[in-house]
């Protein structure tokens, strides 16, 4: 799937968060790095219409996120940093089932699909447990399961491992790398991007480097060394 950003600028009030971004994202694995406040989370949110640009447009498979947001969100799943904010139902299975409420499947089919996904993520033993009793890593796996159960073509993840310990971060990263979906991963864990197809470096609302991981990460290192990363 191709995502195009055409002359995208986004402001929050007077503050320009992203400025004149032109991108065509077609690679299978795309990493986004940048300091806090650089604009990378806004860039991620633009990709599924959670944020619509102040100027310019974002097209997902030709669909404009500003006018066809619902269709875009059916194609582009989004995983947030804090799974506690993403889990909306009291129990694990119910939260995954919530994603299927408009799927047209009957209750039995929904339950079967939910169990299938929970098994894949190793959460089937917790299906009827209260979601708030899961560990941080399990909660993030649940958040992922709840998004992937709808089988989106693209998955955008905004720092999904930032709140996790090293073991769970590795587990989630491994899981992400094995997904068949196109993946856009915003992260501070640079090692996760080593095998990616492309890395974007965002600084002060601009894409300052764009290329294969070695080049992208080297550019980010230079940026950090110069101390200019916001």
């Amino acid at each position: 799937m191709t995502i195009e950003l055409q002359g995208v600028t986004h402001r929050f009030g007077d503050r320009v968060v992203l400025a004149d971004v032109d991108l065509v994202l077609a690679e299978r694995r795309i990493g986004v790095v940048g300091a806090n406040g650089s604009g990378k989370s806004t860039l991620a949110r633009l990709l599924n219409g959670l944020v619509v640009p102040t100027r310019g447009r974002v097209l997902v498979d030709g669909l404009d996120t500003a006018r066809q947001g619902a269709a875009v969100r059916r194609r582009v799943g989004f995983v947030f940093t804090d799974p506690d904010a993403q889990i909306v139902m009291p129990t694990v299975a119910e939260d995954v089932a919530f994603s299927l409420r408009r799927s047209g499947l009957d209750r039995g089919q929904r339950a079967a699909r939910v169990m299938q996904v929970l098994q894949r993520f190793g959460l089937d033993g917790h299906a009827h447990h209260p979601a708030h009793l899961l560990s941080g890593g399990q909660k993030q796996l649940l958040a992922l399961a709840a998004v992937l159960v709808t089988e989106p073509s693209v998955l955008v993840c905004d720092e999904p491992t930032t709140l996790l310990d090293a073991r769970n971060a590795r587990r989630v990263a491994d899981l992400l790398s094995g997904l068949p979906q196109q993946l856009v991963l915003v992260t501070h864990h640079l090692d996760q991007l080593a095998r990616f197809d492309r890395v974007l470096v965002v600084d002060a609302g601009r894409i300052v480097a764009d290329g294969p991981p070695e080049a992208g990460l080297a550019a980010y290192d230079d940026l950090l060394a110069m101390g200019s990363a916001t």
């Binding site: 909306v88 139902m89 009291p90 299975a93 919530f98």
Partner: protein
């Protein structure tokens, strides 16, 4: 409805959520209108029998009632002073029985099933602009938010203690409100990402 569903395959678990809610509503109605000793005994028998049949365990049912203690004790004292011991037993008994019955329903029924019933019941109100799905979602979020807010409150209490301000109400209330609002903001964004408004 605080997300304490205990999985099981008992007849109580398998009974339709609508039936369980109807029985609960009937019991609450009778308790409100005529909380006689006979009603209390019969109601208790239904709840105890249901709990035994469901296999959720007495401890789980008692846990549903325990938070009521701080209400029950002053009510009991007040009733004793004003209306006498018989009325106090009836009022307190009705209160405890009502909560235990509601607790048994939530312990044996998935939230999703309860919300489906609610949506069906509210469906006729679509004509006057009520969105049953939205009402059900609000209730589900309220249930889900209880442990999240409890967790936030615990974090804020610890942060307050770490800074030596254990007794400061402001050091508790301000960060708790801010964190709660931030959580609500993130939750709204997550709901949008999951297509709730689509």
């Amino acid at each position: 409805m605080i997300g304490l569903y205990v999985p099981g395959d008992s007849p109580v678990h398998r009974a339709p959520a609508g039936l369980k809610l109807a029985v609960l509503a009937l019991l609450l109605l009778v308790l409100a209108v005529a909380p006689t000793t006979a009603v209390l005994i019969e109601g208790t028998a239904v709840v105890v029998g249901g709990a035994a049949l469901s296999g959720v365990g007495a401890r789980a049912v008692v846990a549903q009632v325990r938070p009521l203690l701080w209400v029950v004790v002053p009510v009991a004292v007040l009733q004793l002073l004003i209306t006498g011991p018989a009325a106090a037993v009836r009022v307190v008994g009705a209160l405890v029985l009502a909560v235990a019955a509601a607790g048994l329903v939530t312990l044996t029924t998935r939230t999703e099933e309860l919300l489906d019933v609610l949506i069906s019941v509210l469906r006729p109100l679509r004509r006057v602009g009520v969105d049953p799905d939205r009402v059900a979602l609000v209730l589900a979020l309220a249930v889900r938010s209880v442990p999240v807010l409890a967790g936030l409150a615990a974090e804020v209490r610890q942060a307050r203690a770490a800074r030596g301000a254990e007794r400061s109400l402001r050091a508790f209330a301000v960060p708790l409100v801010i964190r709660s609002l931030r959580h609500a903001d993130r939750l709204g964004e997550a709901l949008a990402a999951r297509g709730v408004d689509d």
